[in-house]
Amino acid sequence: MSGFWAMGDYGAYVWPAYGISAAGLLVAAVLVLHAHARAKAALARLGAKP
């Protein structure tokens, strides 16, 4: 198992690349979904359908 995390001694490059990509995409998805929900709620408060 430790060999998997070591990534042939390249773990210090492989894991940050995956971590930063996952974090970036996840944060983007959360922000986009949050803004969408907020805009939908704002329209609903005004009595209009999305």
Binding site: M7, Y10, G11, A17, H36, A39
Partner: protein, 237 residues
């Protein structure tokens, strides 16, 4: 195509498409990550080859997003259709994100393979320019208060910046570079083994579908925000 450029039709169609696109994106990404880590280390690059499965899709998606933004900008300029302006505006932050991810993952791949985080060669510099074009486009939209004028100015920047796309693509052929030449989308077929092509293809599909999911959601958000603003202004009048 322009039949769906009616905001009401777009909202109905995108409302149906988004869950499917998002679901397929997650499945493709999960399968791509699994196959990517199940693939054997490359005989030359060792385990760093796994960075390719996230670096290349990020770079492709960043360029595709710019192409779509430029196309929407052109339609916005020619047809004067507000939905095209909204589509272009909504693509920019996502394109900037994928460009940044391409640069960061490329740097993390380049350090162990080339012995350096960065070189000012044609491919890397033109790709960095892509990030600046995205940031400039976003800044231009935010700097001009009148939305119609902002859309026109930003569309012109997007179209001028589109010249950078073929420069990125062919930079590895035109100039000496540390970056590897075209090895996937080339005449005569890909140069890499099938065991790496499958995870790469799935990740590229996943990144593209994720982009389209988030892009549609951002367009929907912008349409709803503009509608809410109009309703509020009408209420105040």
């Amino acid at each position: 195509m322009l039949r769906y450029a009616n905001p009401a039709r777009f909202m109905t169609l995108s409302g149906t498409l988004v869950p499917w696109l998002g679901g397929f994106a997650l499945v493709a990404l999960a399968a791509g990550v699994y196959l990517g880590f199940a693939a054997p280390p490359d005989y030359q690059q060792g385990d760093t080859v796994r960075v390719m499965f996230i670096h290349v899709p990020a770079a492709w998606t960043a360029m595709m997003a710019y192409g779509l933004m430029a196309l929407a900008s052109l339609i916005g300029l020619v047809q004067r259709h507000p939905l095209a302006d909204v589509a272009a505006k909504s693509a920019a932050p996502l394109g900037a994100l994928f460009t940044a991810l391409g640069l960061i993952t490329g740097s993390l791949w380049g350090r162990p393979m080339w012995g350096t985080w960065w070189v000012w060669d044609g491919r890397l510099t033109s790709f960095l320019l892509l990030l600046f074009l995205y940031l400039g486009y976003i800044a231009l939209w935010n700097a001009i208060e009148d939305e119609t004028r902002a859309a026109r100015a930003a569309a012109i920047l997007a179209l001028v910046g589109a010249v950078n796309l073929p420069i990125i693509e062919f930079s590895v052929d035109w100039w000496t570079t540390l970056h590897q030449g075209e090895s996937i989308l080339r005449k005569g077929g890909p140069l890499i083994a099938a065991v790496y092509l499958w995870p790469l293809g799935l990740m590229a599909l996943g990144y593209s579908l994720l982009f389209f999911t988030l892009w549609l959601l951002r367009i929907r958000t912008e349409i709803m925000t503009r509608r809410a603003r109009s309703l509020m202004l009408a209420g105040e009048a």
